[in-house]
Amino acid sequence: MVTKLKEVDAVIVGLGWTGGILGKELSEAGLKVVALERGDLRVPAKDFAVPIVRDELRFVVRHELMQNTARDTLTIRNNPSQEALPMRRLGSFLPGDGVGGSAVHWSGHTWRWTDMEFRVRSMYEERYGKNFIPADMTIQDWGITYAELEPYYDRFEYTAAVSGKAGNIKGQIQAGGNPFEAPRAREYALPPLTPIQASVMFTEAAKNNGYHPFPRPSANASQAYTNPDGAQYGACQYCGYCQRFGCEANAKGSPLTSVIPIALRNPNFELRTNSWATKVLKDSDGKRVTGVAYTNLLSGEEFEQPAGMVLLCAYAINNVHLMLLSGIGEPYDPVAQKGVIGKNYCYQTGTGATLFFEGRYFNPFMSAGGSNATIDDFNINWDFDRGPHGFVGGYSVAGGFNSALPIGYRPVPRGTPQWGKAWKAATAKWYQTAMNIGASGSVMANRYNYYDLDPTYRNAFGLPLMRMTFDYKANEHKMGEHAARTVNAIARSMNPTHLNEAVARTLPWTVVPYQSTHNTGGTPMGTNPKDSALNKYLQSWDCHNLFVVGANVFPHNASYNPTGPVGALAYWTADAIKNRYVKNPGPLVPA
């Protein structure tokens, strides 16, 4: 028995950054909005209070704020010839659960992706020729430009209390910032975070090697801050419990601190927690969506929420899953190379070195989420010639710490025994006297990296699990070797007592250990319905009253963390809906 509810103007599935931004903006524009969130509402003042929030076992190891894989997970394989098996517990990536989503437990790294991503195929073909891009590398232009997105990046950065140093204001290079960044209209919302010893030493070494270090821009408020909507942030306390934790100081840029409470005060906006969307409903001719079917997890009751438009704002993986479960758009087929839903799943790659310095003190427990110094000389620097190295994409390199808590972070030189007195002595000696240099690399789309529905395994609702087929390809391995050489050269120039060198990844992607919650693609945006699921406004080519928002729209993955463009695109889509779509519903781009 399904209860059909009264129609509203818009229903939002998933209330994190994107759902929060769209919920606030559309309800302020006068639309009646209902947000369905599968998890609970957590209130920072009680749920993230000291001391209960400072619990590494509960929040990091046992995944308190994360998706419960007993209820819904994915199946995993490296290539289509393997049999996919369930990811029985979380590991490599950690989708959040509850109001605020993954933006509760993120670290805050906020980047502006540039035309080097948005025009990736065009730029590489223009410079290196069509043959430089391997035949199975399915990268494509995104259909949007940096210039179009710049005001929305600005808006998101000021909403989320991003602290940093501009490197390029209106074309003028700024000392101390990232000289490779695309021009921005103004400075960051807040000055950069106080550097920690590891970032001080990395900065000096990077300079000595001829690179261009800068403080990582991060949504950790370096000072108390009131954002343009009136939301108040406290100052970051460098507590060392950032990644995987809610913020006790309200200093982390989060929709829980900003857009969501503002939306909740608006009578046009209604939040329903513990509401699990199972399907987006379509009308009989499949040209429009009509609402969302969901289950109330507290009662088991099933509901249908009719709506004039549907906005999928869940975690990137879950948005794609809902599209496949709902039969919207043509599922991607890697053999025939037809269809778009599930296409271009991408991830990230990386490598890192640990440097041990007798007599230095890094105090790894004192850090913000973004206490890193970074170089982009091999990332968004188009002057870096990829030609001789034969790879597309890039990597950033950083030195610093983020949530270096002792169950997970206990650096010792390679070859140290794993237990006993020698292990104890090494662990005691090096915990405070080691630092890391890490590289984070892009992953280009590949024909054989994709999602579809699993033929065997099902979730708690009896629905097929999503199946993820993914591995790193030769392009990523070549880049990884280059990145490891760069990291090791910088590290050796610092003359550490011991060095655990960075090693380029050669093995297949594995579902353990943790690597990165930067899963992208599956419903790529683009210039035409043949190779994309969504137009540049994240509007479905198939159903014009369906918008799908999140990193699932990225046609490939960059070295950078994804939240900058995720937030900017949410504001961009909100403006397109408010200013154009509601006045004249229909495709915003002709197919």
Partner: protein, 242 residues
């Protein structure tokens, strides 16, 4: 040969096996005796023995875990030994908690081993894995040395742990060695460095060993003040603040 060794080494295991006592009483017997009030402060290890006892581990498993944590974390000038840090208690509590019972674990079949990149694929909760792994390890020890792990000498224990950690040991009948070892090792580390509220890291000895300050972490001023200088950490736990 193993019969002889066993009879000569009539230890706690045999006493407990033969004793006609209830489980709770037996478990109490198996605990290390401690008198915290009489211990010097620096050596104070067990502070709450009255509330201890095992909620999951049976006698053989408890003996295994106690031997394991005391071998992996021996007493020295850095910390007391594993059982005096409560690592056995941490492990017992973890195994009887939601985590041990498979909370958040996708437990639907079909079950296949798959390839290593696909991660954990056993039809076992962590508690069941632990139980099966201890039994298989003890079976290996009896076969190889004529006695279970907890009655091996230091050198033999070391051989077994090296064998487990490098998967040189294979179980005739048991879970994959690598999967068991990974879980075993991870729980020892968790017991060493998790907040003491979970039963391990007693007296914050694990945190003191490395200079980790615990839950109080207002470092806004310290981040510059202690840059490249040791921070005088006197760690604070959740219980200290509650």
């Amino acid at each position: 040969m193993s019969e002889q060794d066993s009879s000569r080494d009539f230890g706690r295991r045999d006493f407990l096996k033969g004793a006609v006592v209830g489980g709770a009483a037996a478990a109490t017997v198996s605990l290390p005796q401690s008198a915290p009030a009489q211990q010097p402060a620096a050596a104070a290890a067990a502070t709450t023995p009255a509330s201890e006892g095992y909620s999951f581990l049976n006698l053989e498993e408890a003996a295994f875990v106690e031997a394991l944590v005391d071998h992996m974390v021996p007493a020295d000038n850095l910390t007391p030994k594993g059982t005096d840090m409560g690592l056995n208690i941490f492990i017992d509590r973890a195994l009887s908690s939601g985590w041990g019972k498979g909370e958040r674990l996708y437990m639907q079949g079909p079950w296949k081993l798959g390839v290593p990149s696909q991660g954990y694929q056993l039809p076992l909760t962590p508690a069941q894995l632990y139980r099966a792994g201890i039994e298989a390890t003890n079976a290996h020890c009896v076969k190889t040395y004529g006695k279970p792990f907890d009655r091996l000498d230091e050198k033999q224990r070391e051989e077994v742990l090296v064998g487990l950690s490098t998967a040189k040991i294979t179980f005739d009948n048991g879970p994959p060695v690598r999967v068991f070892w990974t879980t075993l090792y991870q729980t020892v580390m968790e017991g060493m460095f998790a907040d003491p509220i979970y039963g391990g890291n007693r007296n914050k000895a694990g945190w003191k060993m490395i200079g980790f300050p615990g839950v109080i972490a207002v470092h806004r001023e310290n981040v510059a003040k202690y840059r490249d200088r040791p921070y005088p950490a006197d760690p604070i736990s959740i219980a200290d603040m509650s």
